[in-house]
Protein backbone atom coordinates (compact mmCIF):
# COMPACT_ATOMS: atom_id res chain seq x y z
CA UNK A 1 0.00 0.00 0.00
CA UNK A 2 3.05 2.29 0.32
CA UNK A 3 3.31 2.26 -3.47
CA UNK A 4 -0.32 3.34 -3.76
CA UNK A 5 0.11 6.08 -1.14
CA UNK A 6 3.19 7.36 -3.00
CA UNK A 7 1.26 7.25 -6.27
CA UNK A 8 -1.50 9.42 -4.81
CA UNK A 9 1.13 11.86 -3.48
CA UNK A 10 2.80 11.99 -6.90
CA UNK A 11 -0.58 12.42 -8.55
CA UNK A 12 -1.01 15.77 -6.78
CA UNK A 13 2.70 16.57 -6.81
CA UNK A 14 2.54 20.34 -6.44
CA UNK A 15 0.16 20.23 -3.49
CA UNK A 16 2.26 17.50 -1.86
CA UNK A 17 5.44 19.54 -2.38
CA UNK A 18 3.86 22.65 -0.87
CA UNK A 19 2.59 20.61 2.07
CA UNK A 20 6.05 19.19 2.68
CA UNK A 21 7.63 22.63 2.30
CA UNK A 22 5.30 24.19 4.84
CA UNK A 23 6.01 21.47 7.40
CA UNK A 24 9.73 21.64 6.64
CA UNK A 25 9.73 25.39 7.28
CA UNK A 26 8.26 24.86 10.72
CA UNK A 27 10.57 21.95 11.52
CA UNK A 28 13.63 23.85 10.29
CA UNK A 29 12.71 26.83 12.46
CA UNK A 30 12.20 24.60 15.48
CA UNK A 31 15.46 22.73 14.87
CA UNK A 32 17.46 25.92 14.33
CA UNK A 33 16.11 27.34 17.58
CA UNK A 34 16.88 24.10 19.40
CA UNK A 35 20.39 23.79 17.99
CA UNK A 36 21.32 27.42 18.45
CA UNK A 37 20.03 27.61 22.01
CA UNK A 38 21.72 24.35 22.97
CA UNK A 39 24.97 25.16 21.20
CA UNK A 40 25.12 28.63 22.73
CA UNK A 41 24.37 27.19 26.16
CA UNK A 42 27.01 24.48 25.74
CA UNK A 43 29.56 26.98 24.50
CA UNK A 44 28.83 29.34 27.37
CA UNK A 45 29.10 26.51 29.85
CA UNK A 46 32.38 25.27 28.36
CA UNK A 47 33.87 28.74 28.11
CA UNK A 48 33.07 29.62 31.68
CA UNK A 49 34.14 26.27 33.15
CA UNK A 50 36.82 26.81 35.78
CA UNK A 51 36.01 30.49 36.18
CA UNK A 52 34.06 31.23 39.34
CA UNK A 53 34.30 34.99 39.35
CA UNK A 54 35.39 37.78 37.05
CA UNK A 55 36.72 40.99 38.56
CA UNK A 56 36.86 44.11 36.42
CA UNK A 57 35.84 47.73 36.18
CA UNK A 58 32.46 48.90 37.45
CA UNK A 59 29.72 48.75 34.88
CA UNK A 60 27.41 46.13 33.54
CA UNK A 61 28.24 42.75 35.08
CA UNK A 62 26.90 41.04 31.97
CA UNK A 63 29.18 43.13 29.79
CA UNK A 64 32.11 42.21 32.00
CA UNK A 65 31.37 38.51 31.59
CA UNK A 66 30.71 38.77 27.85
CA UNK A 67 33.97 40.64 27.24
CA UNK A 68 36.26 38.75 29.63
CA UNK A 69 34.93 35.19 29.46
CA UNK A 70 33.25 34.90 26.08
CA UNK A 71 35.19 37.65 24.29
CA UNK A 72 32.14 38.94 22.42
CA UNK A 73 31.62 42.38 23.88
CA UNK A 74 33.72 45.43 24.73
CA UNK A 75 35.19 45.57 28.24
CA UNK A 76 33.63 47.75 30.94
CA UNK A 77 36.95 49.51 31.49
CA UNK A 78 40.30 48.89 33.08
CA UNK A 79 41.43 48.22 36.61
CA UNK A 80 44.84 48.71 38.19
CA UNK A 81 47.17 45.74 37.86
CA UNK A 82 47.70 45.85 41.61
CA UNK A 83 44.16 44.47 42.02
CA UNK A 84 45.64 41.16 40.96
CA UNK A 85 47.97 41.09 43.97
CA UNK A 86 45.07 41.93 46.25
CA UNK A 87 43.09 38.95 44.96
CA UNK A 88 46.03 36.59 44.95
CA UNK A 89 46.59 37.47 48.57
CA UNK A 90 43.09 36.43 49.51
CA UNK A 91 42.93 32.97 51.14
CA UNK A 92 39.70 32.15 49.27
CA UNK A 93 41.33 32.50 45.85
CA UNK A 94 42.93 29.41 44.32
CA UNK A 95 43.77 30.98 41.00
CA UNK A 96 43.64 34.54 39.63
CA UNK A 97 44.52 35.06 35.98
CA UNK A 98 44.77 38.62 34.63
CA UNK A 99 43.51 39.73 31.24
CA UNK A 100 44.53 42.74 29.19
CA UNK A 101 42.11 43.20 26.31
CA UNK A 102 41.29 45.66 23.62
CA UNK A 103 43.38 44.79 20.58
CA UNK A 104 43.14 42.34 17.78
CA UNK A 105 44.76 41.01 14.65
CA UNK A 106 42.59 40.35 11.59
CA UNK A 107 39.54 39.94 13.80
CA UNK A 108 41.18 37.60 16.33
CA UNK A 109 41.30 39.17 19.78
CA UNK A 110 44.69 39.60 21.40
CA UNK A 111 44.56 38.67 25.06
CA UNK A 112 47.37 39.66 27.38
CA UNK A 113 47.43 37.09 30.15
CA UNK A 114 49.62 34.55 31.92
CA UNK A 115 50.43 30.96 30.95
CA UNK A 116 47.90 29.45 33.45
CA UNK A 117 45.16 30.87 31.21
CA UNK A 118 45.64 27.78 29.05
CA UNK A 119 44.82 25.52 31.98
CA UNK A 120 41.39 27.15 32.44
CA UNK A 121 40.17 25.86 29.10
CA UNK A 122 42.38 22.77 29.04
CA UNK A 123 44.29 24.16 26.05
CA UNK A 124 47.48 22.45 24.95
CA UNK A 125 50.20 23.44 22.53
CA UNK A 126 49.82 21.62 19.21
CA UNK A 127 52.91 23.11 17.65
CA UNK A 128 55.79 25.17 19.12
CA UNK A 129 55.71 26.27 22.75
CA UNK A 130 53.80 28.51 25.14
CA UNK A 131 54.43 32.26 25.34
CA UNK A 132 56.95 33.24 28.01
CA UNK A 133 58.43 36.69 27.40
CA UNK A 134 57.37 40.04 26.04
CA UNK A 135 56.42 39.91 22.36
CA UNK A 136 55.75 36.19 22.24
CA UNK A 137 52.31 34.98 21.26
CA UNK A 138 50.50 31.68 20.88
CA UNK A 139 47.53 31.44 18.54
CA UNK A 140 44.30 29.50 19.01
CA UNK A 141 43.50 26.85 16.40
CA UNK A 142 40.70 28.76 14.67
CA UNK A 143 42.51 32.09 14.97
CA UNK A 144 45.51 30.52 13.24
CA UNK A 145 43.24 29.41 10.42
CA UNK A 146 41.44 32.73 10.02
CA UNK A 147 44.49 34.98 10.38
CA UNK A 148 46.95 32.75 8.58
CA UNK A 149 49.48 33.10 11.43
CA UNK A 150 52.12 30.39 11.64
CA UNK A 151 55.06 29.81 13.94
CA UNK A 152 57.78 32.39 13.46
CA UNK A 153 55.44 34.93 11.85
CA UNK A 154 55.62 38.49 13.15
CA UNK A 155 52.57 40.72 13.30
CA UNK A 156 51.41 44.02 14.75
CA UNK A 157 48.17 44.30 16.70
CA UNK A 158 45.31 46.58 15.70
CA UNK A 159 43.56 48.79 18.17
CA UNK A 160 40.06 47.60 19.06
CA UNK A 161 38.31 44.55 17.76
CA UNK A 162 37.01 46.08 14.55
CA UNK A 163 38.81 46.27 11.23
CA UNK A 164 38.98 50.06 11.37
CA UNK A 165 41.28 50.38 14.39
CA UNK A 166 44.73 51.84 13.97
CA UNK A 167 47.68 49.47 13.87
CA UNK A 168 50.21 49.40 16.71
CA UNK A 169 53.14 49.43 14.29
CA UNK A 170 55.59 50.28 17.05
CA UNK A 171 55.43 46.77 18.44
CA UNK A 172 55.59 43.37 16.78
CA UNK A 173 54.52 40.02 18.16
CA UNK A 174 56.22 36.78 17.19
CA UNK A 175 54.18 33.59 17.02
CA UNK A 176 55.90 30.90 19.12
CA UNK A 177 53.10 28.36 19.36
CA UNK A 178 49.78 27.17 17.93
CA UNK A 179 47.17 25.71 20.26
CA UNK A 180 45.33 22.47 19.69
CA UNK A 181 41.55 22.94 19.15
CA UNK A 182 39.62 23.00 22.43
CA UNK A 183 36.08 23.76 21.33
CA UNK A 184 36.20 26.80 23.59
CA UNK A 185 36.72 30.52 23.14
CA UNK A 186 40.50 29.97 23.34
CA UNK A 187 40.41 28.68 19.77
CA UNK A 188 39.60 32.19 18.53
CA UNK A 189 42.18 34.09 20.61
CA UNK A 190 45.78 35.18 20.33
CA UNK A 191 47.43 34.89 23.74
CA UNK A 192 50.42 36.84 24.90
CA UNK A 193 51.93 38.26 28.07
CA UNK A 194 50.36 41.17 29.92
CA UNK A 195 53.47 43.30 29.43
CA UNK A 196 53.34 42.61 25.68
CA UNK A 197 50.02 44.45 25.64
CA UNK A 198 51.50 47.24 27.72
CA UNK A 199 54.51 47.42 25.41
CA UNK A 200 52.23 47.54 22.39
CA UNK A 201 50.64 50.60 23.94
CA UNK A 202 54.01 52.13 24.82
CA UNK A 203 53.86 51.44 28.53
CA UNK A 204 57.40 50.60 29.48
CA UNK A 205 57.04 49.65 33.10
CA UNK A 206 54.40 48.81 35.59
CA UNK A 207 54.75 52.12 37.44
CA UNK A 208 54.75 54.29 34.34
CA UNK A 209 51.69 54.85 32.26
CA UNK A 210 52.89 56.60 29.16
CA UNK A 211 49.81 55.28 27.54
CA UNK A 212 47.60 57.56 29.56
CA UNK A 213 49.62 60.63 28.65
CA UNK A 214 49.85 59.95 24.93
CA UNK A 215 47.30 61.42 22.56
CA UNK A 216 45.08 58.58 21.46
CA UNK A 217 42.48 58.47 18.79
CA UNK A 218 39.74 56.08 19.67
CA UNK A 219 37.12 55.30 17.10
CA UNK A 220 33.57 54.68 18.21
CA UNK A 221 33.00 51.08 19.15
CA UNK A 222 36.65 50.38 19.81
CA UNK A 223 36.93 47.76 22.45
CA UNK A 224 39.90 49.17 24.27
CA UNK A 225 38.34 51.34 26.92
CA UNK A 226 40.98 53.80 27.98
CA UNK A 227 39.45 55.38 31.02
CA UNK A 228 42.24 57.88 31.28
CA UNK A 229 40.70 59.80 34.14
CA UNK A 230 40.15 56.65 36.12
CA UNK A 231 43.63 55.40 35.35
CA UNK A 232 45.22 58.58 36.54
CA UNK A 233 43.00 58.92 39.51
CA UNK A 234 41.19 55.67 40.17
CA UNK A 235 38.00 56.05 42.16
CA UNK A 236 38.89 54.22 45.33
CA UNK A 237 40.87 51.69 43.37
CA UNK A 238 43.60 49.66 44.87
CA UNK A 239 46.68 51.81 44.64
CA UNK A 240 49.99 50.54 43.45
CA UNK A 241 52.23 49.75 46.46
CA UNK A 242 54.75 52.18 45.02
CA UNK A 243 52.27 55.01 45.44
CA UNK A 244 51.25 55.84 41.87
CA UNK A 245 48.47 54.57 39.71
CA UNK A 246 49.16 51.04 38.58
CA UNK A 247 49.32 49.88 34.93
CA UNK A 248 45.94 48.78 33.74
CA UNK A 249 44.61 45.35 33.20
CA UNK A 250 41.08 44.68 31.99
CA UNK A 251 39.87 41.90 34.20
CA UNK A 252 40.86 39.03 36.45
CA UNK A 253 39.52 35.49 36.14
CA UNK A 254 39.18 33.99 39.60
CA UNK A 255 38.82 30.37 40.70
CA UNK A 256 37.73 29.88 44.32
CA UNK A 257 39.67 27.77 46.75
CA UNK A 258 36.55 26.93 48.77
CA UNK A 259 32.80 27.43 48.92
CA UNK A 260 33.07 30.15 51.55
CA UNK A 261 34.85 32.34 49.04
CA UNK A 262 31.79 32.24 46.81
CA UNK A 263 29.77 33.77 49.62
CA UNK A 264 32.30 36.32 50.81
CA UNK A 265 34.39 37.51 47.87
CA UNK A 266 31.84 38.94 45.39
CA UNK A 267 30.06 41.04 47.96
CA UNK A 268 33.31 42.18 49.58
CA UNK A 269 34.75 43.29 46.25
CA UNK A 270 31.57 45.03 45.12
CA UNK A 271 31.12 46.76 48.48
CA UNK A 272 34.60 47.66 49.54
CA UNK A 273 36.54 48.41 46.32
CA UNK A 274 36.11 50.33 43.09
CA UNK A 275 36.13 46.99 41.33
CA UNK A 276 33.22 44.95 40.12
CA UNK A 277 32.89 41.21 40.71
CA UNK A 278 30.55 39.24 38.49
CA UNK A 279 29.73 35.55 38.48
CA UNK A 280 29.78 33.90 35.03
CA UNK A 281 27.22 31.33 36.20
CA UNK A 282 24.78 34.01 37.36
CA UNK A 283 25.23 36.32 34.40
CA UNK A 284 25.14 33.47 31.91
CA UNK A 285 21.94 32.17 33.47
CA UNK A 286 20.49 35.69 33.25
CA UNK A 287 21.54 35.99 29.63
CA UNK A 288 20.16 32.58 28.75
CA UNK A 289 16.88 33.38 30.45
CA UNK A 290 16.66 36.54 28.33
CA UNK A 291 17.47 34.47 25.25
CA UNK A 292 15.05 31.85 26.51
CA UNK A 293 12.09 34.21 26.45
CA UNK A 294 12.94 35.24 22.88
CA UNK A 295 13.47 31.60 21.92
CA UNK A 296 10.12 30.63 23.46
CA UNK A 297 8.36 33.26 21.37
CA UNK A 298 10.14 32.15 18.21
CA UNK A 299 9.46 28.51 19.07
CA UNK A 300 5.75 29.26 19.40
CA UNK A 301 5.75 30.85 15.98
CA UNK A 302 7.66 27.90 14.51
CA UNK A 303 5.11 25.45 15.91
CA UNK A 304 2.40 27.62 14.38
CA UNK A 305 4.04 27.26 10.97
CA UNK A 306 4.42 23.50 11.41
CA UNK A 307 0.81 23.17 12.58
CA UNK A 308 -0.38 25.20 9.60
CA UNK A 309 1.38 22.67 7.37
CA UNK A 310 -0.19 19.78 9.22
CA UNK A 311 -3.63 21.41 9.13
CA UNK A 312 -3.28 21.72 5.37
CA UNK A 313 -2.44 17.99 5.29
CA UNK A 314 -5.72 17.35 7.12
CA UNK A 315 -7.76 19.51 4.73
CA UNK A 316 -6.18 18.01 1.63
CA UNK A 317 -6.51 14.42 2.79
CA UNK A 318 -10.11 14.99 3.82
CA UNK A 319 -10.89 16.37 0.38
CA UNK A 320 -8.94 13.50 -1.19
CA UNK A 321 -10.84 10.92 0.86
CA UNK A 322 -14.08 12.23 -0.64
CA UNK A 323 -12.71 12.65 -4.15
CA UNK A 324 -11.31 9.15 -4.33
CA UNK A 325 -14.35 7.42 -2.89
CA UNK A 326 -14.65 5.43 -6.12
CA UNK A 327 -10.97 4.48 -6.08
CA UNK A 328 -11.24 3.20 -2.55
CA UNK A 329 -14.37 1.21 -3.40
CA UNK A 330 -12.58 -0.33 -6.37
CA UNK A 331 -9.62 -1.11 -4.16
CA UNK A 332 -11.94 -2.91 -1.77
CA UNK A 333 -13.57 -4.81 -4.63
CA UNK A 334 -10.11 -5.84 -5.80
CA UNK A 335 -9.66 -7.46 -2.43
CA UNK A 336 -8.12 -4.82 -0.17
CA UNK A 337 -9.47 -4.79 3.36
CA UNK A 338 -11.00 -1.71 5.02
CA UNK A 339 -7.79 -1.28 7.00
CA UNK A 340 -5.65 -1.42 3.87
CA UNK A 341 -7.79 1.19 2.12
CA UNK A 342 -7.76 3.48 5.15
CA UNK A 343 -4.06 2.73 5.62
CA UNK A 344 -3.18 4.39 2.32
CA UNK A 345 -4.61 7.67 3.62
CA UNK A 346 -2.77 7.31 6.93
CA UNK A 347 0.42 6.51 5.03
CA UNK A 348 0.04 9.64 2.93
CA UNK A 349 -0.16 11.76 6.07
CA UNK A 350 2.81 9.95 7.54
CA UNK A 351 4.91 10.25 4.39
CA UNK A 352 4.21 13.99 4.04
CA UNK A 353 5.05 14.55 7.71
CA UNK A 354 8.20 12.40 7.50
CA UNK A 355 9.40 14.14 4.36
CA UNK A 356 8.69 17.53 5.95
CA UNK A 357 10.51 16.55 9.13
CA UNK A 358 13.56 15.18 7.30
CA UNK A 359 13.75 18.12 4.93
CA UNK A 360 13.31 20.54 7.82
CA UNK A 361 16.07 18.95 9.91
CA UNK A 362 18.44 18.85 6.93
CA UNK A 363 17.62 22.46 6.13
CA UNK A 364 18.28 23.48 9.73
CA UNK A 365 21.78 21.98 9.68
CA UNK A 366 22.48 23.45 6.23
CA UNK A 367 21.25 26.84 7.42
CA UNK A 368 23.48 26.74 10.48
CA UNK A 369 26.46 25.71 8.32
CA UNK A 370 25.77 28.65 6.03
CA UNK A 371 25.21 31.02 8.93
CA UNK A 372 28.38 29.93 10.71
CA UNK A 373 30.43 30.35 7.54
CA UNK A 374 28.96 33.78 6.75
CA UNK A 375 28.73 35.32 10.21
CA UNK A 376 31.74 35.18 12.56
CA UNK A 377 29.49 36.35 15.40
CA UNK A 378 27.57 33.08 15.17
CA UNK A 379 30.80 31.08 15.25
CA UNK A 380 31.88 33.17 18.21
CA UNK A 381 28.98 31.93 20.31
CA UNK A 382 29.55 28.33 19.26
CA UNK A 383 26.91 28.00 16.53
CA UNK A 384 27.81 25.33 13.99
CA UNK A 385 26.07 22.83 11.72
CA UNK A 386 27.44 19.45 12.61
CA UNK A 387 26.20 18.47 16.01
CA UNK A 388 23.04 16.43 16.22
CA UNK A 389 20.80 17.19 19.16
CA UNK A 390 18.56 14.44 20.62
CA UNK A 391 15.77 17.01 20.74
CA UNK A 392 15.65 16.84 16.96
CA UNK A 393 14.28 13.32 17.30
CA UNK A 394 11.60 14.74 19.57
CA UNK A 395 10.62 17.34 16.97
CA UNK A 396 10.53 14.69 14.23
CA UNK A 397 8.47 12.33 16.41
CA UNK A 398 6.00 15.09 17.31
CA UNK A 399 5.58 16.07 13.66
CA UNK A 400 5.13 12.43 12.62
CA UNK A 401 2.53 11.95 15.34
CA UNK A 402 0.68 15.08 14.26
CA UNK A 403 0.89 13.92 10.63
CA UNK A 404 -0.83 10.67 11.56
CA UNK A 405 -3.38 12.62 13.61
CA UNK A 406 -4.09 14.90 10.64
CA UNK A 407 -4.71 11.83 8.47
CA UNK A 408 -6.78 9.99 11.07
CA UNK A 409 -10.18 11.53 10.36
CA UNK A 410 -9.86 11.22 6.55
CA UNK A 411 -8.67 7.62 7.05
CA UNK A 412 -11.65 6.88 9.31
CA UNK A 413 -13.91 8.30 6.63
CA UNK A 414 -12.46 5.81 4.16
CA UNK A 415 -12.62 2.98 6.71
CA UNK A 416 -16.30 3.59 7.41
CA UNK A 417 -17.29 3.86 3.75
CA UNK A 418 -20.21 1.57 2.91
CA UNK A 419 -18.96 -0.33 -0.10
CA UNK A 420 -22.34 -1.22 -1.60
CA UNK A 421 -23.64 2.35 -1.25
CA UNK A 422 -20.52 3.80 -2.77
CA UNK A 423 -20.64 1.36 -5.65
CA UNK A 424 -24.30 2.15 -6.21
CA UNK A 425 -23.37 5.83 -6.48
CA UNK A 426 -20.17 5.38 -8.44
CA UNK A 427 -21.16 2.72 -10.99
Amino acid sequence: MIGLALAYLRDRGLVTALNILLIALGVASLAVLLLVSSQVEQRFTRDSAGIDLVVGAKGSPLQLILSSVYHVDVPTGNVPAASLDLLRGDPGVARAVPLALGDSFRGARIVGTEPPFLAIHGATIADGRNFATTGEAVVGAEAARTTGLTIGRRFAGTHGTGADGHAHDNFAFTVVGILAPTGTVTDRLILTTIDSVWAMHGIEGPATQKHAAEPHDHGPGDAHDHDHADAAEPKGAILDPRGGPAPDITAILVTYRNAMAAVRLPSAINRETALQAASPATETARLLSLFGAAFDGARLFAWLVALTGLASVFVILLAAATAREGDMALLRVMGASRSQAAGTVLLEGLIIAAAGALLGLAAAHALLALGASLFPTLRAVGVGPALFHPGELGIAAAVLGLGVLAALIPALKVYRTDLAETLARAT
Binding site: G3, L4, A7, Y8, R10, D11, R324, G326, D327, A329, L330, L331, R332, V333, M334, G335, A336, S337, R338, L419, A420, L423, A424, A426, T427
Partner: protein, 217 residues
Protein backbone atom coordinates in the same frame (compact mmCIF):
# COMPACT_ATOMS: atom_id res chain seq x y z
CA UNK B 1 -16.39 -29.74 -8.99
CA UNK B 2 -18.67 -27.17 -7.32
CA UNK B 3 -20.40 -24.46 -9.29
CA UNK B 4 -18.53 -21.23 -9.68
CA UNK B 5 -21.67 -19.41 -8.56
CA UNK B 6 -24.85 -20.65 -7.01
CA UNK B 7 -27.68 -18.39 -5.90
CA UNK B 8 -30.52 -20.11 -4.02
CA UNK B 9 -33.90 -18.52 -3.25
CA UNK B 10 -32.52 -14.99 -3.14
CA UNK B 11 -34.87 -12.33 -1.83
CA UNK B 12 -33.76 -8.74 -1.85
CA UNK B 13 -35.60 -5.47 -1.39
CA UNK B 14 -34.48 -1.87 -1.28
CA UNK B 15 -36.33 0.78 0.71
CA UNK B 16 -39.19 -1.64 1.22
CA UNK B 17 -39.55 -2.27 -2.51
CA UNK B 18 -38.93 -5.90 -3.54
CA UNK B 19 -36.21 -6.19 -6.16
CA UNK B 20 -35.57 -9.93 -6.25
CA UNK B 21 -37.87 -12.72 -5.06
CA UNK B 22 -36.88 -16.36 -4.83
CA UNK B 23 -34.23 -15.93 -7.46
CA UNK B 24 -32.00 -18.88 -8.26
CA UNK B 25 -29.03 -19.25 -10.57
CA UNK B 26 -26.21 -21.72 -11.14
CA UNK B 27 -23.07 -21.09 -13.13
CA UNK B 28 -20.66 -23.96 -13.66
CA UNK B 29 -16.90 -23.36 -13.78
CA UNK B 30 -16.04 -21.74 -17.11
CA UNK B 31 -19.71 -21.27 -18.00
CA UNK B 32 -20.81 -17.94 -19.47
CA UNK B 33 -24.20 -16.22 -19.20
CA UNK B 34 -25.89 -12.88 -19.82
CA UNK B 35 -28.18 -11.27 -17.27
CA UNK B 36 -30.58 -9.22 -19.38
CA UNK B 37 -33.25 -6.79 -18.33
CA UNK B 38 -34.28 -3.15 -18.34
CA UNK B 39 -32.72 -0.54 -16.11
CA UNK B 40 -33.74 -0.82 -12.47
CA UNK B 41 -34.76 -4.47 -12.69
CA UNK B 42 -32.07 -5.56 -10.22
CA UNK B 43 -29.21 -6.69 -12.47
CA UNK B 44 -26.55 -4.70 -10.60
CA UNK B 45 -27.99 -5.70 -7.23
CA UNK B 46 -27.80 -9.31 -8.27
CA UNK B 47 -24.16 -8.99 -9.29
CA UNK B 48 -23.35 -7.22 -6.01
CA UNK B 49 -25.09 -9.98 -4.07
CA UNK B 50 -23.10 -12.59 -6.02
CA UNK B 51 -19.90 -10.73 -5.15
CA UNK B 52 -20.81 -10.40 -1.49
CA UNK B 53 -21.02 -6.62 -1.76
CA UNK B 54 -24.72 -6.68 -0.87
CA UNK B 55 -26.38 -8.99 1.60
CA UNK B 56 -29.73 -10.46 0.48
CA UNK B 57 -32.75 -10.44 2.79
CA UNK B 58 -32.73 -14.21 2.55
CA UNK B 59 -31.28 -16.99 0.45
CA UNK B 60 -27.86 -18.50 -0.06
CA UNK B 61 -24.89 -17.39 -2.08
CA UNK B 62 -22.18 -19.97 -2.78
CA UNK B 63 -18.92 -19.21 -4.52
CA UNK B 64 -16.98 -22.29 -5.64
CA UNK B 65 -19.16 -24.24 -3.22
CA UNK B 66 -18.30 -21.98 -0.29
CA UNK B 67 -21.18 -20.24 1.44
CA UNK B 68 -20.86 -16.43 1.56
CA UNK B 69 -19.71 -15.66 5.12
CA UNK B 70 -21.61 -13.31 7.38
CA UNK B 71 -18.49 -11.47 8.55
CA UNK B 72 -17.41 -8.62 6.28
CA UNK B 73 -13.70 -9.41 6.51
CA UNK B 74 -14.38 -13.05 5.56
CA UNK B 75 -16.56 -11.94 2.64
CA UNK B 76 -13.67 -9.69 1.48
CA UNK B 77 -11.31 -12.66 1.66
CA UNK B 78 -13.62 -14.96 -0.30
CA UNK B 79 -14.19 -12.30 -2.95
CA UNK B 80 -10.44 -11.70 -3.19
CA UNK B 81 -9.87 -15.41 -3.86
CA UNK B 82 -12.70 -16.06 -6.29
CA UNK B 83 -14.31 -13.00 -7.92
CA UNK B 84 -13.28 -10.40 -10.46
CA UNK B 85 -15.62 -7.52 -11.31
CA UNK B 86 -15.78 -5.25 -14.34
CA UNK B 87 -17.82 -2.13 -13.65
CA UNK B 88 -19.47 0.16 -16.11
CA UNK B 89 -17.60 3.31 -15.09
CA UNK B 90 -15.42 2.44 -12.12
CA UNK B 91 -12.53 0.94 -13.98
CA UNK B 92 -9.11 1.71 -12.58
CA UNK B 93 -7.39 3.37 -9.60
CA UNK B 94 -6.89 6.94 -10.80
CA UNK B 95 -3.39 7.56 -9.41
CA UNK B 96 -1.80 4.42 -10.84
CA UNK B 97 -0.67 3.72 -14.36
CA UNK B 98 -2.43 0.95 -16.25
CA UNK B 99 0.44 -1.46 -15.59
CA UNK B 100 0.51 -0.58 -11.87
CA UNK B 101 -3.27 -1.09 -11.67
CA UNK B 102 -2.88 -4.59 -13.05
CA UNK B 103 0.08 -5.32 -10.78
CA UNK B 104 -1.89 -4.19 -7.73
CA UNK B 105 -4.90 -6.29 -8.72
CA UNK B 106 -2.67 -9.35 -9.20
CA UNK B 107 -0.91 -8.78 -5.89
CA UNK B 108 -4.17 -8.34 -3.96
CA UNK B 109 -5.45 -11.57 -5.48
CA UNK B 110 -2.22 -13.37 -4.69
CA UNK B 111 -1.53 -13.99 -8.36
CA UNK B 112 1.84 -13.60 -10.10
CA UNK B 113 2.30 -10.45 -12.14
CA UNK B 114 4.07 -12.19 -15.00
CA UNK B 115 0.94 -12.42 -17.15
CA UNK B 116 0.44 -8.66 -17.30
CA UNK B 117 2.40 -8.03 -20.50
CA UNK B 118 0.65 -10.85 -22.34
CA UNK B 119 -2.75 -9.61 -21.18
CA UNK B 120 -1.94 -6.04 -22.25
CA UNK B 121 -0.85 -7.33 -25.64
CA UNK B 122 -4.03 -9.41 -26.01
CA UNK B 123 -6.11 -6.32 -25.31
CA UNK B 124 -3.97 -4.09 -27.60
CA UNK B 125 -2.95 -1.95 -24.63
CA UNK B 126 0.80 -2.55 -24.50
CA UNK B 127 1.51 0.96 -25.79
CA UNK B 128 -0.65 2.42 -23.01
CA UNK B 129 0.89 0.46 -20.14
CA UNK B 130 2.43 3.56 -18.55
CA UNK B 131 -0.61 5.79 -19.08
CA UNK B 132 -2.83 7.05 -16.29
CA UNK B 133 -6.54 6.11 -16.50
CA UNK B 134 -7.57 9.67 -17.33
CA UNK B 135 -5.40 9.55 -20.45
CA UNK B 136 -7.18 6.48 -21.85
CA UNK B 137 -10.01 6.60 -24.36
CA UNK B 138 -13.39 5.06 -23.46
CA UNK B 139 -12.58 1.90 -25.41
CA UNK B 140 -9.08 1.62 -23.93
CA UNK B 141 -10.39 2.21 -20.42
CA UNK B 142 -13.01 -0.49 -20.76
CA UNK B 143 -10.48 -2.98 -22.13
CA UNK B 144 -8.18 -1.97 -19.27
CA UNK B 145 -10.97 -2.71 -16.77
CA UNK B 146 -11.36 -6.16 -18.31
CA UNK B 147 -7.60 -6.67 -17.99
CA UNK B 148 -7.69 -5.53 -14.37
CA UNK B 149 -10.41 -8.07 -13.56
CA UNK B 150 -8.79 -10.92 -15.52
CA UNK B 151 -5.28 -10.48 -14.14
CA UNK B 152 -6.49 -11.77 -10.78
CA UNK B 153 -7.47 -15.04 -12.57
CA UNK B 154 -10.84 -15.23 -10.79
CA UNK B 155 -13.02 -18.33 -10.81
CA UNK B 156 -15.98 -16.04 -11.43
CA UNK B 157 -15.91 -12.91 -13.53
CA UNK B 158 -18.83 -10.52 -13.06
CA UNK B 159 -19.30 -7.66 -15.52
CA UNK B 160 -21.81 -4.86 -15.04
CA UNK B 161 -22.79 -3.14 -18.28
CA UNK B 162 -19.25 -3.49 -19.63
CA UNK B 163 -20.10 -2.10 -23.05
CA UNK B 164 -22.65 0.59 -22.26
CA UNK B 165 -20.28 3.47 -22.98
CA UNK B 166 -18.84 1.95 -26.13
CA UNK B 167 -19.73 2.32 -29.79
CA UNK B 168 -20.65 -0.68 -31.89
CA UNK B 169 -17.10 -1.50 -32.99
CA UNK B 170 -15.70 -1.22 -29.46
CA UNK B 171 -18.66 -3.13 -28.01
CA UNK B 172 -18.04 -6.02 -30.32
CA UNK B 173 -14.32 -5.98 -29.65
CA UNK B 174 -14.63 -5.73 -25.85
CA UNK B 175 -17.25 -8.47 -25.68
CA UNK B 176 -15.25 -10.80 -27.87
CA UNK B 177 -12.14 -10.28 -25.76
CA UNK B 178 -14.01 -10.73 -22.50
CA UNK B 179 -15.57 -13.96 -23.70
CA UNK B 180 -12.36 -15.36 -25.18
CA UNK B 181 -10.02 -14.46 -22.32
CA UNK B 182 -12.46 -15.66 -19.63
CA UNK B 183 -12.76 -18.93 -21.50
CA UNK B 184 -8.99 -19.23 -21.93
CA UNK B 185 -8.35 -18.96 -18.23
CA UNK B 186 -11.40 -21.00 -17.23
CA UNK B 187 -13.31 -18.21 -15.48
CA UNK B 188 -17.07 -18.42 -15.32
CA UNK B 189 -18.56 -15.21 -16.72
CA UNK B 190 -21.79 -13.43 -15.84
CA UNK B 191 -22.51 -10.20 -17.67
CA UNK B 192 -25.32 -7.92 -16.53
CA UNK B 193 -26.46 -5.85 -19.50
CA UNK B 194 -29.42 -4.37 -21.30
CA UNK B 195 -27.44 -4.58 -24.54
CA UNK B 196 -28.88 -7.43 -26.57
CA UNK B 197 -25.97 -7.15 -29.04
CA UNK B 198 -23.99 -9.30 -26.59
CA UNK B 199 -26.24 -12.28 -27.31
CA UNK B 200 -24.10 -12.77 -30.38
CA UNK B 201 -21.19 -13.68 -28.12
CA UNK B 202 -22.93 -15.49 -25.22
CA UNK B 203 -25.87 -17.72 -26.06
CA UNK B 204 -27.15 -18.31 -22.54
CA UNK B 205 -29.29 -15.38 -21.41
CA UNK B 206 -31.18 -14.95 -18.16
CA UNK B 207 -33.95 -12.43 -18.57
CA UNK B 208 -34.94 -10.35 -15.56
CA UNK B 209 -38.32 -8.74 -15.72
CA UNK B 210 -39.23 -5.45 -14.11
CA UNK B 211 -41.53 -7.31 -11.73
CA UNK B 212 -39.99 -9.15 -8.78
CA UNK B 213 -41.60 -12.55 -9.53
CA UNK B 214 -39.04 -14.25 -11.68
CA UNK B 215 -36.95 -17.36 -11.83
CA UNK B 216 -33.77 -18.41 -13.49
CA UNK B 217 -33.87 -19.08 -17.20
Amino acid sequence: MPNALELRSIRFSRNGRPILADFGLSLAPGEQALLLGPSGCGKTSLLNIAAGLLTPDSGDVLLMGERMPARAADRDALRRRTVGIVFQTLRLISALSLRDNLALAARLAGQPADGIDRLLAELSLSHRAGARPRALSQGEAQRAAIARALVARPALLLADEPTSALDDANTDRAAALLVRLAAEQGSALLIATHDSRLKAHIPRAIQLAAAPDRVAA
